[in-house]
């Protein structure tokens, strides 16, 4: 028994025949068509494609912000189509960290308070939360900025705060939709370096949409999306 190889771990993301159609009044707008996709746990994968090709829609289906019109979307071992809004909320809190193009930090909260938000959904005590927040901010190199509010930070710093927020609750999956789209070269490199750390050292699964070939280079695999079809 001992010599037998361990069974392969289940994939983090498994999409089978997933399609998405939006309805605008009476007009149906097909956005994704019959997508099959498997992303292994611990992978770092990037999606590229022209604007409007359905990249964000695909990311939203993977992260449980949206549900497919047809097909099966299994992520982190759960069939997302079977869950209601409340279950999806709890599932996202437990399994997904988000990094948005425009950071989506709360301007009236300090960096530390912003990072702490996802922990408020866990049973952690105040002291434990504080320790997790400090560790996350240290990882992104912003220990000296804990008390600053977003308007007092540069774009690059804000995105690093957002990354700290995405990892603070230790999710399996990090979802990033054009995380460097609003940053200059130098800040973008810092963010991508951090993604490298999350991938290599923390063994996170990273799924990223980007327009930037430099960013895509960091990923283990790059998918092309065109008019809702995965190449």
């Amino acid at each position: 028994m001992r010599e037998e190889p361990l069974p392969a771990p289940p994939p983090m993301v498994r999409l089978r025949g997933v399609s998405k159609t939006y309805r605008r009044g009476t007009v149906e707008v097909p956005v994704l068509a019959a997508v099959d996709l498997t992303i292994d746990a611990g992978a770092f994968e990037a999606f590229m494609g022209p604007s409007g090709s359905g990249k964000s829609t695909l990311l939203n289906l993977i992260s449980g912000l949206d549900q497919p019109t047809t097909g099966i979307a299994e992520v982190a071992g759960r069939d997302l189509a079977q869950m209601d809004d409340r279950e999806l909320s709890d599932w996202r809190a437990a399994h997904v960290g988000f990094v948005f193009q425009l950071y989506n930090l709360i301007p009236v909260l300090t960096a530390a308070e912003n990072v702490e938000l996802p922990l408020l959904l866990t049973p952690l005590t105040r002291g434990e939360r504080r320790r997790h927040v400090a560790a996350a901010l240290e990882l992104v190199g912003l220990t000296h900025r804990v008390g600053h509010r977003p308007p007092q930070l540069s774009g690059g710093e804000q995105q690093r705060v957002a990354i700290a927020r995405a990892i603070v609750s230790d999710p399996d999956l990090i979802i990033a939709d054009e995380p460097t789209g609003d940053l200059d070269r130098k800040a973008a490199e810092a963010v991508l370096d951090l993604f490298g750390v999350l991938h290599r050292d923390l063994k996170k699964t990273l799924v990223m949409v980007t327009h930037d070939p430099h960013a895509a280079e960091r990923a283990g695999r790059v998918h092309q999306l065109d008019k809702g079809v995965l190449q």
């Binding site: 992260s63 709890d90 989506n104 909260l109 308070e113 938000l117 996802p118």
Partner: protein, 385 residues
């Protein structure tokens, strides 16, 4: 839970609209609590009249002396009751009194209604609580009057040595009396016969009967009510004044609560508009919270709580404003007797707590619809905002 300091700071971040809304809510809470304090003040001002040994005798069914009539014969019969106390002169302490309404000038072109009490020889002796503070009692058979203390200064002539004019006659003020803050302090006391003829009133309005002790009051009241020789009813004097006070206080309370209710609709609307604006400017933040895993219910609660905070701030502001009215003393019409009475606002812990709850409740109500909208936002639409 979305942390409360997020709500507090978001309100502070838009302090102009927050401030205006809080002031609006505060005004309503101010009206609400000031009116309740006023009704309270009226009750304690009027209800403090009356002596435990005294009975006011009125015509059966009359709610106040002003609408009552008691015949001279009936007053004579009352004096024969064995339990009636005697004065220093040995005569029974039964005072037939005529009560009329006067209009006195009150500063410039203003006029105010005042109760005038036509007294008899025993009126002062039967009311130990009424004490002269200056001057002397009016002499019987003259137009001399004594003023209740709170009328002094209401017009230039309303003072010791002044001369009132009413019923086309002159009435010199020869004395000022106090009555432990009770209702008599807002009355003009004059000779009963002179006042009666000036106003064409033959009969007495009421009879005041002083008994040997408070213990006799109930039995005496029963004897009066049951006596077939007249259709009169007796009321312990403190109860009579308490009734006078409570009908006015109730009237003010009902009116005040109605006005507060109408105003509160406006304030709730104000809170609603403010919270809709808060939600609209923070759509992206709310979308992020939902994405990160906060449930619809948490977002709903967060907006409602924020609105309740707005209301609580208004409640505190309004209650503080109402407390400041403690330093105001006012006089107004007693709608029961149509006479001016003087009183202040008297706060109680219950009123202040009520003010806070009222403010918080208005905020909460105003926040419901904006909260519902916030909780129903599509996450994707919100994140795109």
């Amino acid at each position: 839970m979305v942390p409360l300091f997020y709500n507090a700071r978001s309100l502070w971040a838009r302090r102009l609209s927050t401030g205006v809304t809080v002031v609006g809510l505060g005004l309503v809470v101010f009206v609400f609590s000031a009116v309740l304090m006023l009704a309270n003040g009226i009750e304690s001002a009027l209800a403090s009249g009356g002596d435990a040994s005294n009975v006011v005798v009125l015509r059966k069914g009359a709610t106040s002396e002003l609408v009552s009539g008691v015949e001279r014969d009936a007053v004579r019969i009352l004096t024969t009751d064995p339990e009636v106390a005697s004065g220093p002169d040995g005569l029974p302490l039964v005072a037939g009194e005529r009560v009329v309404l006067l209009t006195l000038p009150s500063g410039g072109t203003q006029a105010m209604n005042t109760t005038a009490r036509g007294i008899s020889a025993e009126s002062f002796a039967a009311r130990p609580e009424v004490q002269l503070v200056s001057g002397r009692r009016p002499r019987p058979g003259t137009n001399e009057v004594a003023l209740g203390r709170s009328l002094v200064g209401t017009s230039p002539e309303a003072t010791l040595g002044g001369e009132l004019r009413f019923a086309q006659q002159r009435w010199p003020v020869v004395g000022v009396f106090a009555a432990r803050g009770g209702a008599f302090e807002s009355e003009v006391w004059a000779d009963g016969m002179r006042l009666g003829s000036a106003f064409g009133r033959e009969d007495f309005s009421s009879a005041l009967v002083r008994l040997r002790s408070p213990a006799q009051v109930d039995a005496f009241v029963k004897r009066v009510n049951a006596n077939p020789r007249f259709t009169l009813e007796g009321k312990p004097e403190p109860a009579y004044w308490a009734d006078q006070a409570s009908s006015l206080a109730t009237f003010i309370r009902v009116l005040g609560l109605f006005v507060s209710f109408v105003f509160s609709l406006g304030a709730v609307l104000g809170a609603m508009i403010t919270m809709y604006a808060q939600v609209a400017t923070r759509v992206a933040e709310l979308g992020m919270l939902r994405a990160v895993g906060f449930r619809r219910r948490s977002v709903l609660a967060s907006v409602v709580v924020e609105s309740a905070m707005l209301g609580a701030a208004g409640g505190v502001l309004g209650a503080l404003g109402a407390l400041a009215t403690r330093f105001i003393h006012i006089r107004t019409l007693n709608f029961q007797t149509f006479a001016a009475v003087s009183f202040g606002f008297s706060p109680t812990p219950a009123i202040l707590l009520g003010a806070l709850l009222f403010g918080t409740g208005m905020g909460l109500l105003g926040g419901l619809l904006p909260a519902l909208r916030a909780s129903r936002l599509s996450i994707l639409d919100a994140l795109r905002a």
